[in-house]
């Protein structure tokens, strides 16, 4: 997997005096390899090749974490700045959404409601950063999803909350022959065993992990946005993505088994950005289901 990492953005998480040339050389020797450095109006941008087994480094934060571990081995001081997110309450039950989730398909499920969002273009600073990583800026809501995905390596989806009928979601396996129109306007006949989300009126509103449904997409009239951050069963994602030949950035990440712990940081970061860029007001509680069991450290010798 190849990714663009702007030097300036990287240094938001990486405190070091290492020059871009040093970062490029030492990281290439030990971990993600730098194919080349592009000089852009946003400063130097590294073009990294990350091997498929290291989906944890396919992001700006991920590369910063690698750099913080690698650079000191070459006698260069480097410190990782963790992602700062606000305090949130995670809860298994919330008033704004009733969700039934097949735990086999989804190892971590979080959602949060943000009310009174104002959709407008993002500030120039955000647009510049997105351009530097090869993404076209569209509007603040879409830009935030892309921003978080490139910064943390966690895909984020946004629903227009008012288009989810009955404020209800069922995350389940699809049946062969079910139909969905994704937000790029294309209609697919599903091969079966795909992860889909159905709303209170039994409409399919999301081809989970791959692309959102057209009928629930955020548009210029959207007021209330439901943020959606999860990790899915990588096998289902891979199969659907390959058989529909739909290789979205999200699918390419999800099929490599993302860390469920990244979800909490991801949704926290997204909420913070929504407050800052859209003027929206988040609900107090984040809906959170998980099959994740945190292992206690064991002394083995």
């Amino acid at each position: 997997m190849n990714i663009l990492i702007p030097d300036k953005w990287l240094r938001e998480f990486l405190k070091t005096l290492a020059s871009p040339a040093q970062i490029s050389e030492y990281l290439s020797l030990c971990g993600p390899a730098v194919e080349r450095i592009n000089e852009t109006s946003y400063g130097p941008v590294y073009y990294f090749e990350v091997t498929t087994n290291r989906v944890d480094s396919v992001s700006i934060y991920g590369v910063a974490r690698e750099a913080a571990a690698i650079l000191p081995r070459f006698g260069i001081k480097a410190r990782l700045h963790s992602v700062k997110v606000g305090e949130f309450k995670f809860s298994q039950k919330v008033k704004y959404l009733k969700a039934i989730v097949d735990k086999k398909l989804c190892s971590r499920f979080t959602a949060a409601l943000i009310k009174n969002v104002i959709i407008k273009p993002s500030p120039k600073q955000i647009q510049d950063k997105l351009t530097a990583v090869g993404v076209r800026a569209i509007n603040n809501v879409v830009d935030i999803s892309n921003y978080v995905m490139h910064e943390l390596g966690q895909p984020v989806h946004t629903f227009d909350y008012d288009k989810i009928k009955g404020a209800k979601m069922i995350l389940r396996e699809s049946e062969k022959g079910e139909k969905i129109t994704t937000l790029d306007g294309k209609t697919y006949l599903l091969p079966g065993e795909d992860i889909v989300i159905e709303d209170g009126q039994k409409r399919l509103i999301d081809l989970a992990g791959i692309m959102g449904g057209e009928n629930s997409a955020v548009d210029s009239n959207t007021k209330n946005v439901l943020l959606f951050v999860q990790t899915y069963n990588p096998l289902n994602i891979r199969r659907t993505s390959m058989s529909l030949a739909k290789r979205s950035e999200a699918a390419v990440l999800f099929e490599k088994d993302l860390d469920p712990e990244l979800v909490s940081v991801g949704i926290g970061r997204t909420i913070d950005l929504f407050v800052k860029l859209t003027g929206g007001v988040p609900e107090k509680e984040i809906l959170d289901f998980t099959t994740l069991k945190r292992l206690q450290p064991q002394l083995i010798s």
Binding site: C30, T51, T52, N53, R54, R238, M242, K256
Partner: protein, 341 residues
């Protein structure tokens, strides 16, 4: 019009048959077939004909032209043969053109030589392969995302009951498990050089290319042996002063996995315009994954091994310093290119 053509034709034929020497023939050629010759003036008058006649008259004129040309040539040969009274049989003949081997074939021979000297056995395994040997046995089950790295051609044919779908092998690593199955008990020292196929075609990729794969399995084989073998190859193939280095990488079928770099031939590792930082990428290598050994019927608790697989075209370019603007030129069968080697 038709009659006129036939008259001119008969007249010309008679005169050509009567010609005594090649000078006569040349002047006849000019008279009839020259730019202002009789035939050409007929051609010019075609445009005045009614539409439906144009085609048939055109054909007739062309036929006349070729008949006359052939006859002139024939007559010329006849005259020359009768003129030649004495023939010097000692004049060296014009040599028949013989070709030479393709430059990739030369590279394959050279690579084989380097490895057979240290006890590697050269083998070749099928180009049309089963999924199991190319992917499954190499720790890449169906639906594994690592398969994306190989743009594979699938063959529309009945799948094998246990080996799966039929494909064109995208790498020589498909020979690893086959070699283990053939030899059964290590030691194994294999060099597999074969054609590989991937669905890619641009200035730096050809859909059919060659790889060479080294495989060593024995007791107590370690990274040291791998590094030693790579250094031996680098020094013997590229030159004494060259060095190699290993960088961590990932393949499903080796653990740990490496990418192998070699010092640049121009600056010898100091860094220059050509290589940027003194090193050039050669290809992949690693210690064979225990699962792969198991799939080949080799006990991973007793034996260990290493493998490497590199592109023949790549090392050829690096060795010769050839700067081919488009790699596809190698297989274009263009003699203007091939005769330069």
């Amino acid at each position: 019009m038709r009659e006129e053509i036939l008259n001119i034709k008969n007249e010309a034929l008679a005169q050509i048959m009567d010609a005594k020497d090649s000078r006569d023939l040349d002047s006849l050629r000019v008279t009839y077939l020259g730019r202002n010759g009789k035939i050409n003036s007929l051609t010019k008058s075609i445009k005045n004909l009614p539409k439906d006649e144009k085609v048939s008259v055109g054909i007739l004129i062309n036929e006349t032209k070729t008949t006359l040309l052939d006859l002139i040539a024939e007559q010329k040969n006849k005259i020359q043969q009768t003129v030649r009274k004495w023939f010097d049989t000692s004049i060296p003949a014009i040599k028949a053109k013989i070709g030479h081997l393709h430059l990739v074939t030369y590279a394959i021979e050279e690579i084989s030589d380097v490895f057979t000297k240290i006890g590697f056995v050269k083998v070749r395994y099928p180009e049309v392969e089963w999924d199991w040997f190319a992917f499954g046995s190499l720790n890449m089950p169906k639906d594994h995302p690592a398969r994306d790295e190989w743009e594979t051609f699938f063959i529309d044919s009945k799948p094998h009951p246990s080996y799966g779908q039929m494909i064109l092998t995208p790498h020589t690593s498909s020979g690893q498990v086959r070699e283990m199955m053939r030899v059964k008990t290590p030691p194994i020292r294999m060099i597999n050089i074969a054609k590989c196929y991937r669905r890619q075609s641009d200035v730096s990729h050809v859909p059919m290319f060659h790889q060479f794969e080294g495989l060593v399995i024995d007791k107590d084989i370690s990274i040291v042996n791998l590094k030693g073998t790579l250094d031996y190859f680098a020094k013997n193939f590229f030159g004494r002063q060259r060095q190699t280095r290993l960088r961590p990488f990932h393949f499903q079928f080796t653990e740990p996995s490496f990418e192998v770099d070699i010092t640049c031939g121009v600056c010898l590792g100091k860094g220059c315009k050509l290589c940027k930082a003194g090193w050039l990428e050669l290809g992949g290598a690693g210690m064979i994954h225990p699962t792969v050994l198991k799939n080949g019927g080799v006990d991973p608790t007793k034996y260990t091994g290493f493998a490497f697989g590199w592109g023949v075209e790549r090392v050829l370019m690096m060795k010769s310093g050839l700067k081919i603007p488009d790699l596809r030129l190698l297989y274009s069968s263009d003699l203007r290119f091939l005769t330069q080697f």
